[in-house]
């Protein structure tokens, strides 16, 4: 469904991604793990057209998408829940969620999805009239995930979705991500909580210094000695 071929990206003079090739199969969950600064966020930003790539190509559902605008890429069915929440603080919770469905025309479906998001995070329904900037940090994180779901994506990319969530919410979110995949959404997940991510992943990629250094099933990465030492602390 998604293919990257030899993608290279620079930030200023610094090499952020070097010759990255990967493929994400339809209806699977791929987890990307790696230290901070490895290029994980850059990778997601490149796919959705927020960061220009300097070499290589990106393909989604058979079409080449590098060079397209973010708007066009979202319209094709790609969605990103960005790092650091990036919610719209001066808009209400409901308006933020509606913004996630901005490019959709079918009102009935949007209402259905809104209900799904409220089932997932009941606190968002309780607070739907409140300005998003007045939510707590963890609630804003829930809103960012909800907003990403509102475009009914075919490919959902999540950048650190568990950040700032309580232990109980963290396990709820990972369970829900797994369920969303079961419903047929393809997921690309970047997480510091490598254990929880690999546990639900079909495939895991280890990104270090802008390069993919390991690629395997989630299960076998969980058993891998190097991964265990570096990312799981066991």
């Amino acid at each position: 469904m998604l293919n990257l071929e030899g993608v290279t990206v620079y930030y200023g003079g610094a090499l952020a991604l070097e010759n990255v090739s990967l493929s994400v199969e339809e209806e699977t969950l791929t987890a990307i793990i790696g230290p901070n600064g490895a290029g994980k966020t850059t990778l997601l930003r490149s796919i959705i057209g927020l960061k220009k790539i300097h070499k290589g190509s990106i393909w989604f559902a058979g079409k080449r998408i590098d060079g397209l605008s973010t708007r066009e890429i979202v319209k094709m069915g790609v969605s990103l829940c960005p790092e650091r929440r990036r919610i719209l603080p001066e808009m209400t919770v409901l308006e933020n969620l509606e913004m996630g469905a901005y490019l959709r025309k079918t009102k009935g479906e949007v209402r259905e999805d809104l209900k799904k998001v409220f089932d997932l995070f009941p606190v968002l329904e309780e607070r739907k009239g409140q300005l998003a900037g007045t939510l707590s940090g963890g609630e804003q994180q829930m809103l960012a995930i909800g907003r990403a779901l509102m475009s009914r994506p075919k490919l959902l990319m999540l950048d650190e979705p568990s950040l700032g969530l309580s232990p109980i919410m963290r396990s709820v979110v990972f369970k829900k991500i797994d369920e969303i995949r079961m419903e047929g959404v393809t997921i690309l997940l970047v997480e510091q909580d490598a254990y929880s991510a690999l546990k639900i992943a079909d495939k895991g990629l280890v990104l270090e210094n802008g390069r993919i250094v390991q690629e395997s099933s989630g299960e076998s990465l969980l058993k891998d000695e190097n991964v265990r030492r570096a990312y799981l602390g066991i």
């Binding site: 901070n36 707590s136 700032g164 309580s166 109980i168 510091q192």
Partner: protein, 250 residues
Amino acid sequence: MEVYNNGLKMALLEVKGLTKRFKGLIAVKNVSFTVDEGECVGIIGPNGAGKTTIFNLITGFLKPENGAVFLKGEDITNLKPYEIVNRGIARTFQLICPFPNMSVMENVLVPLYGKRKKLEGNLEEKGSEILKLVGLSHQKDKLARNLPHGDLKKLEIARALATEPEILLLDEPFAGLSFDEMAVLMEVIKKLHESGLTIVIVEHVMRVIMNLSERVIVISEGEKIAEGKPKEVVQDKKVIEAYLGVSTIA
């Protein structure tokens, strides 16, 4: 250690009956607790429980409707944030906000500059000391915007330390850190605590709370629902229900 007239030990920080409303919502409801000198206290609780609001009330970013905050017995409730910093309470923020186009050293020099009249010796020397303490010496000339996330978290703490606090309030310092970075930051905070700094830490990573804090306060829906040693608190039924979830007991 200062002492009350009745001979009881005086807490360094005392929060008494704090209540804060946001329109209809009661964000903090009659919360009281104390922090003794040299303690490391953890605050945990569900998202939206009011943990950050409590920090905002202590540091003067918000004013409570009811209740008061005392530092060494003095009422600081109605002071402004900068006055409270000058009295010795520093904090970090969940979303780190350094000056991106200044170097690491310059970021630390900004708060130090505010202290220049009281400080002995050279500001840069003091800055170097602080950067060494948090393990950022090797990055001192780098622009803040070029630092990896783990180092930015350390810089956030360094900037707070540069205000020379007696109490340091840390708001989710471990969020978004990799396992290795967590281990490093845990050592940094341990070292600060051992050097005598009083620390209050809001954090969801239970391994950190269990490891660092001597006492844990649990907040849920604006109220204090439990308080005690970390090992006792994680077995509390209310805490498991509201916060940990059955399967995640640390």
